[in-house]
């Protein structure tokens, strides 16, 4: 019964391997860049001062204390680090689902993580600084997802969202449930149990109290409609992940308050899928991008955003989806996703327009430390 105390501790930023977050090498001053803020305004020739892993100040001609390392960002874009709204990066292959328990509310996705994997190291240059680690899709309730950071591999939020799967992938031969109605029955009973007779503060209880958003994996549009109904029934904050019905979400999500998490668009090149984010944003649906990595071996969120922008998603909406909107959907907007004083110093410096995929990422700063710097800069 030590678990809650351990968990409470873990909610504070801690390193995954028990080591304390390293002391920040030095303060940073990102100087003279085009600083993008989530209001859509870009501050020209602005400075960002980073101290102790947080953003200390943003403005023109900031003075930095002695010993501050200065990064020249003149002519470059400075943005919040990108947030991947669904990823399996670094998780043990083939061990993402504890399929013997279809309602896997208590398994801990972080226990499947080996943060020293090559793929995790390779992910940093993509500009992604935070990501939602999700278990697989083989259980109706696949389990809590955690938001972790690259760089020092810290846990930003344990139990950030709950992954609920309304998809054929959660129906397994000779295991309950075998059918979508059976699946819905199980999930509904679990949620109503947590609502009517709450015990402790498990994931389901947090969901029905509105403290924990749900990410819902769906196949077709009818699954999406059922997911939206389910979310409304239990007043859960929800977002939908679907590959197949991405283009049809625009008929269902507007007005429901449910957000959309786009799969990697590089892997779904059909024009109707590429246009979907733009159509959703036009109707006020909040968006985030996801890599589903390493399933698709595609860590580059920026490419998805650029493809969506080329197909009609407004420039600012695409950048918001990469940053603050993703943070909002995952419930970590108080810490990351925007450049504001006091927020985590997760920054990306891009040589040009971030949605111009030819513009290289120059530097990635996570928790105030340089996690990646392009060679020759």
């Amino acid at each position: 019964m030590k678990a809650p105390a351990v968990r409470a501790l873990a909610c504070v930023t801690t390193a995954l391997f028990g080591a304390v977050t390293p002391a920040h090498a030095q303060n940073l001053l990102v100087k003279g860049g085009r600083v993008w803020t989530e209001t859509g305004e870009a501050l020209e020739k602005a400075d960002v001062l980073v101290a102790d892993g947080k953003i200390a100040a943003i403005g023109a001609d900031l003075t930095a204390p002695d010993g501050t390392r200065v990064l020249d960002a003149a002519g470059k874009w400075v943005l919040p680090g990108f947030i991947d709204a669904r990823s399996h990066l670094g998780l043990a292959r083939g061990e993402l689902d504890e399929t013997v328990t279809p309602l896997a509310t208590d398994t801990e996705v972080l226990d499947a993580l080996w943060a020293e994997r090559e793929e995790v190291r390779r992910a940093t240059p993509s500009g992604v600084t935070s990501l939602l680690l999700s278990p697989g899709d083989a259980n109706p309730i696949a389990g809590p997802c955690a938001v972790v950071k690259l760089g020092h591999h810290t846990i930003l939020k344990r139990d950030a969202t709950l992954n609920i799967v309304l998809s054929a992938s959660a129906l397994i031969y000779d295991r309950r449930p075998t059918s979508m109605p059976g699946l819905l029955d199980m999930v509904r009973q679990a949620l109503s149990g947590a609502r009517d007779k709450p015990v402790g503060d498990g994931a389901l209880v947090k969901v029905v109290r509105g403290e924990m958003p749900v990410t819902m994996t769906c196949d077709g549009i009818s699954d999406v409609e059922r997911a939206v109904q389910l979310a409304a029934e239990f007043h859960a904050r929800a977002s939908i992940v679907t590959r197949e019905a991405l283009d049809e979400l625009v008929d269902v999500l507007p007005g429901t308050g449910v957000s959309a998490i786009c799969p990697p668009l590089g892997a779904t090149p059909a024009e109707r899928f590429l246009r979907a984010p733009g159509r959703l944003a036009a109707k006020g649906v909040k968006l985030a991008f996801s890599s589903m990595a390493p399933t698709t071996d595609e860590c580059d969120l920026r490419t998805s955003a650029a493809l969506a922008a080329a197909a009609g998603l407004p420039h600012d909406a695409a950048l918001r989806a990469l940053t603050c909107d993703a943070a909002g959907i995952l419930g970590v907007g108080d810490r990351v996703g925007s450049l504001q004083t006091g927020k985590d110093a997760d920054l990306v410096i891009v040589a040009g327009d971030p949605l111009d995929i030819a513009a290289p990422i120059e530097c990635v700063i996570i928790d105030g430390d340089i996690a990646y710097q392009r060679e020759g800069t």
């Binding site: 989530e38 209001t39 859509g40 054929a168 129906l171 000779d174 295991r175 309950r176 449930p177 075998t178 059918s179 979508m180 109605p181 059976g182 699946l183 819905l184 029955d185 196949d219 077709g220 549009i221 009818s222 409609e225 059922r226 109904q229 019905a245 049809e248 008929d251 269902v252 507007p254 007005g255 944003a281 036009a282 109707k283 006020g284 600012d316």
Partner: protein
């Protein structure tokens, strides 16, 4: 931070308004036809069906057509109500059974509806506008079906009624797959009853007995027992999927034991053998599929005696009957099946009733569909001629006052 959000909201509002305006064209439609078959009284020649906001406003030779109405001049064509399929087994995705249990009274097949299903789109083209999707046949107590429109916007617009009946299976299908786990893990849930029809009947009898006992003792019923109790007390009809005469007789035995008053027989291939009994008990029958030849289906260990005039003999005895598709994953050409039944001996007017008003009455939606009249849903077919003539073409299918299929323009439910 606020301003862009407001702007997005504003944009969304404008788009919504624009869509709403577009939908207005559905508002008032006049369909002029050579003949209108209402299924209530005699056909009306040279009549106009006036549709407003998805409902029928008026029908008649003298129906006034307002200037702003969109006129569909169907010329000499015949207009009839959209077809009602009382036992469909398509329009879903994935397993339509919860195989982990033989008794699934809380199973709502509604949870498996797939509005994108190609079979549903084909059903529209075959003239089916309302269908009751039945749960699958793998479980003894299969659960409840769902009544939907074949072409409507959104899931909530599609569903007419979720549940309201309990379906059980008396054929041998629930036995398939159950056995001693020679090769499966020992706790496989397929290691269970029934493996024979004796087992099926035993499970049914036990389920009803347990429910009756609980009702008499006044113990609180869980959701499972409550579903069975509703059928036991006659609050909801009990649909029984069966084929052979012996299954029909067994059903009656159990019905008499437990006082089951509201039965509906589904498939009922050998119903003609007990037509008089079924009629006397006032039990409606939903027939179909209508293409099976005797003793050729490999799964049917016993086989069954097909009589092509099953429908005619049942109708002659006075049984209310419907003809339904009842075919896994596939819609049926119900008008052709009705014509085949008519050729085998069912009177033509009864054959038409069997795909329109009768199924609507049996599944309890006759107040909305199955016939044409003021206040009814504007679900209608425009046909090139007599509905039961094999060369007759389905020209247009209108669902909720919207053209869902137009054979002449090539537009379909897909849009």
């Amino acid at each position: 931070m606020r301003a862009p959000a407001v702007r997005i909201l504003g944009a969304a509002l404008l788009v919504t308004l624009a869509c709403a305006c577009e939908a207005r064209t559905d508002g008032l439609i006049a369909v002029k036809a050579g003949r209108v078959i209402t299924m209530r009284g005699l056909p009306i020649d040279g009549a106009t069906v006036l549709i407003q906001d998805g409902k029928i406003k008026q029908i008649g030779p003298g129906a006034a057509v307002p200037d702003k109405a969109t006129v569909i001049d169907a010329g000499d064509s015949v207009v009839m109500p959209g077809l009602v399929d009382a036992n469909a087994r398509f329009g879903t995705r994935g397993d339509p059974n919860e195989e982990s249990d033989e008794l699934t009274p809380t199973f709502h097949v509604a949870g498996a509806i797939d509005r994108d299903s190609p079979a549903l789109k084909r059903a529209v083209q075959l003239g089916v506008t309302t269908l009751r999707i039945a749960p699958g046949t793998a479980d003894v107590i299969a659960g409840t079906g769902v009544i939907i429109k074949s072409a409507a916007a959104g899931l909530s617009g599609t569903v007419v009624r979720d549940g309201g009946e309990l379906q059980i299976v008396m054929g041998d299908e629930p036995t398939y797959g159950n056995d001693i786990p020679w090769y499966r893990r020992p706790d496989s849930f397929y290691f269970r009853q029934p493996t024979t029809r004796m087992g099926i009947v035993w499970l049914l009898r036990k389920a009803f007995f347990d429910t009756k006992t609980a009702l008499q003792a006044g113990t609180p019923l869980d959701a499972r027992l409550a579903g069975i109790a509703a059928a036991l007390q006659g609050k909801t009809p009990l649909y029984v999927m069966l084929r052979t005469a012996v299954d029909i007789e067994t059903t009656f035995t159990i019905a008499d034991e437990f006082g089951l008053g509201r039965l509906v027989l589904v498939e009922c291939t050998e119903g003609y053998k007990l037509a008089a009994t079924i009629a006397r008990r006032r039990i409606p029958v939903i027939l179909g599929p209508c293409y099976q030849y005797p003793r050729t289906w490999p799964e049917a260990s016993q086989g069954w005696d097909v009589n092509w005039n099953n429908a005619g003999l049942l109708a002659k005895a006075g049984v209310k009957l419907a003809i339904a598709s009842n075919d896994p994953d596939s819609p049926a050409n119900l008008l052709t099946w009705a014509a085949l039944a008519a050729r085998a001996g069912l009177p033509a007017d009864e054959a038409l009733k069997a795909v329109t008003i009768n199924p609507a009455e049996i599944i309890g939606v006759a107040d909305r569909v199955g016939s044409l009249g003021p206040g009814k849903d504007a679900d209608l077919l425009v046909l090139s001629g007599d509905p039961l003539r094999p060369t007759t073409m389905i020209q247009k299918v209108i669902v909720n006052g919207r053209i869902a299929f137009d054979a002449l323009s090539g537009a379909s439910a897909d849009g």
